[in-house]
Symmetry: C2
Subunit: 387 residues, 2 copies
């Protein structure tokens, strides 16, 4: 009996390992495929060009860009440029957002003004919050303090909640003159079902989001100027539309830097608030975060001895990505995992420690950060005309 | 020859008179027909009920209403109510607008707070102004001073230009969640051609105009409360939509008071800035206005003797309407015209005098009015949630 059981486990471990390797081969192809499909550019040339690229660039979390040349030029000539990073305040931020905030911090150090529109109108309109107040409260109580706690410079960081800065809608109205309904329908592949959507959802997608991308180019902010949107690949259509719209109103087409998703702890896709167990929120109590990590689905083997001999599959492991993207400076974790030197239990313990240390110190800063919201809040009236 | 010519002229005068009478019979039916078609109510009962109805009510310039009961009740119980009257600032105001301003003045005396949204966004988006600034400048330089010069009470009159009061878009966003695209398309009979319109035009019509009608019911203004829109019959679809939308967000369906158009001096339809000769603008120099009046197409006969005998057709005469709606307190003009007692030349002279006197004194007040704009400007932030 014991022999048979051992034999089956070994076979199970082998099959499991093969399946994980195969999955990784498939997944490894996802981003290169996207680059081809959408005609994006790799950021390798930018990394070569920059004396000290960001950690996320070195780790290829930034896997591609569109139009980054305008930013490289502004950096080189020390001309003003801006970065825009939109947030939807239906839930507190998680480590997927931290990834982007880390990149924003680096971009700020390179000279960028950072603009962070928090679209509580979107949360409301697409039904992600009960009402406009609920998402507004999340913005002020959870999101903005977390952003400030990350260490941004208030002189170069401009945050606003859409409904408290309705000036953004002036830009949307100006732009929406140039956005034809049939074009928008085609652009977003609107079929019969989408016409059952609300006018608000259409206008948000078609015009307000465009305004959030383009408004730092208004003359109130010294525009037109080069701008950059660090974002995920699923936002690609908006970037394309914004580049198209920019040309129509004599602005500079915004560049985009595409970041890989932060893998969810449940290994069922990216970290997402829709699957709370997939995500570590920056407002999670450290103990809760540790538990989430301990229950994560890793790239390791069910059989410790097998893993010691053959190693794990870090490429499909959320713990590997969590540690590497957020807490490591080199590829040590990958090596240790591949060689079987470290097993998942120990690796999870390290991750749990890293995450809970981060959360503890992040959350310690939240109280002070809450008092500094005013300092970061954008209030400049927008009265200029986009064409 | 002379006899023949005389004979022809007489015949011509007779035919002309018949044609004018026939036209008047047809036109006289226009408004009663609208009442039937749209299931409106006559305002007779309101006139009977009110101790001192407005002059325009007595003259049936206000020919119908929808839902005026809510206003009558607020008047009776001395509860707060508001009136909203939207203006498109692509041109200065003309006597067609004065008609509405006169009614607003009366409504203000009955206790109403008056809200006047000036939609420079609409002018821009539908291409009625070169850009948002052009229509904004017309608003501040021509329209608002004219409104103030009419004698409104600044404590109960709240004027704003959309792009300078973007808070109105918060209301639009809130409402637009409840406005389904396919419903809007059906509502405005959007066909293939309209889909070539801009997203801005759709959103303006579908959501911003709704916001302009419903915003005084936000809690910042002590709403929900009964509201009234004095408007022309072509705005009826917006009123219907607003009544429908109001119910969806727990507001009181706004009432409407429908005013007849001010007939254009060219007798080719209502006074409209699109046909400058049809309109006397409140900013026209008195001399220019007098000339426009002298060139007006009246309801009189080409043959003075014929007119002396048979009278004119005041029902189709822009001069008759200009004098009656704006300068007379009784039906004397109608009688004098019908009886042939007064001919068009003299009648025009009186109208010219009345208009140029009005314009001179109106324009005398414009300079002071320009300095009082701030006093009338609405600035209350709108942060409340419509559902």
């Amino acid at each position: 009996m014991e022999f048979e059981q051992k034999f089956n486990l070994e076979k199970f471990a082998q099959d499991d390992f093969k399946a994980k390797k195969a999955l990784w081969e498939k997944e490894a192809d996802y981003y290169p495929q996207k680059i081809k499909e959408l005609d994006l550019k790799s950021i390798d040339r930018f990394i070569d060009y920059h004396p000290k690229p960001s950690k996320l660039m070195k780790f290829k979390v930034n896997f591609a860009h569109k139009g980054l040349e305008s930013i490289a030029e502004a950096m080189e000539k020390q001309k003003p440029w801006a970065v825009i990073s939109r947030l939807n305040p239906s839930n507190p931020l998680h480590f997927g957002h931290k990834l982007i905030l880390d990149e924003l911090l680096w971009l700020q150090k390179q000279g960028a003004d950072i603009y962070i529109p928090i679209s509580n109108d979107e949360s409301h309109i697409i039904g992600k919050s009960k009402n406009l107040d609920e998402s507004k409260n999340i913005a002020y109580e959870k999101i903005i303090p977390s952003i400030i706690s990350m260490g941004f410079n208030s002189k170069k960081t401009h945050i606003f909640v859409d409904s408290d800065y309705p000036d953004i809608y002036n830009v949307a109205m100006g732009l929406s003159k140039h956005l034809m309904i049939d074009h928008i329908f085609e652009f977003f592949n609107f079929g019969k079902d989408e016409k059952k959507e609300s006018l608000g959802a259409l206008y948000y997608k078609g015009a307000v989001q465009q305004a959030e991308i383009l408004f730092p180019q208004c003359k109130e902010f010294g525009g037109p100027k080069p701008t950059l949107i660090p974002t995920s690949i699923d936002e690609y259509p908006y970037i394309l539309l914004a580049r198209d719209t920019a040309k129509k109103v004599n602005l500079i087409p915004p560049a985009a830097l595409f970041l890989k998703f932060q893998q969810g702890l449940d290994n069922k896709g990216e970290m997402s608030a829709d699957r709370p167990k997939s995500s570590i929120f920056l407002t999670d109590e450290p103990k809760i975060a540790e538990n989430k990590i301990k229950n994560a689905h890793t790239g390791g083997s069910p059989l410790p001895n097998f893993q010691k001999e053959h190693g794990g599959v870090p490429g499909i492991c959320p713990i590997y990505y969590l540690r590497t993207y957020h807490f490591e400076e080199d590829k040590k974790v990958e090596k240790e995992c591949n060689s079987g030197e470290i097993l998942c239990g120990d690796c999870k313990n390290i991750a749990a420690k890293q995450v809970s240390n981060f959360l503890a110190s992040h959350q310690e800063r939240l109280h002070d950060a809450s008092k500094r919201i005013e300092e970061f809040t954008l209030k400049t009236p927008i009265r200029s005309i986009l064409k």
